[in-house]
């Protein structure tokens, strides 16, 4: 208990308290030292007046609202397909985990080799079909589409893993009982399988939501938030404020606002999902 408490205070409570303190301060870096001065809520007051804050929040909302449902949908579909497959079950179970095992830096390189205007294979393939060159990473809409594509490709595996594990945990006799009662394949899916997958889907949704807020590596390496601010998600803007502008107090205030907003959304989403997908009474 005591070592746990010490570790918790050292690595969770203390940094969080420092972040809160920083959010209410102006921190300057002078002669090798950080000089803190209390600023009250000034950093928080600045937040709504900063247009890039709103832009990054809206980009993140678009990103999360697209990637989370897409990964949930594809991951669940893949889990159901693998569960019903006879020919590819072994290969699919193996290969579908690969993207999640690849480091984000390598994922960025992989997708640069696919999407880059110079060396990308996708444009070359499309050219053979007579399509003009697409601005995957150079055009604002194309860049957002690309980072969404990369994220969905990278993290569908995690949803697949969670849902497939839950699917394997559903007792076969439940389905047999359903079939004996005359349930068709789609009715068994709708009334037995999906409700029993509810908790796994809720967990996957929550994990993906938090991942969507934290997402950084691939976006930073693929687009650096550009072109312009087209893919400046909140995490990229926080990095910009902290490390490029060295505006530590403001960065801390923005980080804190993101944490509070994410916790609120996650809490609301989790409560809703739990309400909607109550486990069936057996």
């Amino acid at each position: 208990m005591l070592p746990d408490g010490v570790l918790l205070i050292l690595f969770a409570v203390y940094p969080t308290l420092q972040l809160i303190r920083m959010a209410f301060s102006i921190v300057r870096f002078e002669r090798g030292q950080f000089i803190w001065s209390y600023a009250g809520p000034a950093n928080f007051v600045r937040l709504p007046t900063d247009p890039i804050v709103w832009e990054s929040v809206s980009k993140s909302v678009i990103f999360i609202a697209t990637t989370v449902p897409l990964t949930l949908l594809l991951g669940t579909a893949l889990a159901l397909l693998v569960d019903r497959s006879v020919l590819f079950v072994g290969v699919a179970r193996n290969v579908l985990l690969w993207p999640a095992l690849v480091a984000p830096v390598v994922v960025s390189v992989i997708w640069l080799l696919v999407l880059s205007p110079n060396i990308g294979v996708l444009d070359k393939l499309l050219a053979t079909l007579g399509w003009p060159e697409q601005g995957w990473l150079g055009d604002p809409a194309g860049a957002m589409f690309s980072v969404i594509l990369v994220d969905v490709w990278h993290w569908t595996s995690i949803v697949f893993l969670l849902v497939y594990t839950a699917l394997k945990g559903i007792p076969a006799d439940l389905l047999e009982a359903g079939r004996l009662d005359g349930a068709s394949e789609s009715q068994a899916l709708r009334y037995i399988v999906l409700p029993l997958l509810g908790p796994a889907l809720a967990t996957a949704a929550l994990i993906r939501l938090v991942m969507g807020v934290k997402v950084f590596d691939e976006m930073y390496l693929l687009t650096q938030g550009g072109p312009g601010t087209a893919t400046t998600l909140v995490s990229l803007y926080v990095r910009d404020v902290f490390f490029d502008r060295l505006d530590l107090g403001y960065g801390a205030a923005f980080s804190l606002a993101i944490v509070v907003a994410t916790a609120a959304v996650a809490f609301a989403a989790f409560a809703t999902i739990r309400h909607v997908s109550r486990p069936v009474q057996v």
Binding site: L113, W153, L175
Partner: protein, 39 residues
């Protein structure tokens, strides 16, 4: 969750094969480029 169905269903196998292909192609392309002499 598998029950005693063991028949090959093309509506399962073909979409699954395509999805697996999509997941593996970007990695495969990097591997192909990585063994090119001028890369």
């Amino acid at each position: 969750m598998r029950t005693n169905r063991r028949r090959v269903n093309p509506f399962v196998e073909i979409p699954l094969a395509l999805m697996v292909l999509i997941m593996v192609l970007p990695i495969a392309w990097m591997l192909v480029l990585s063994v090119q002499p001028d890369w």
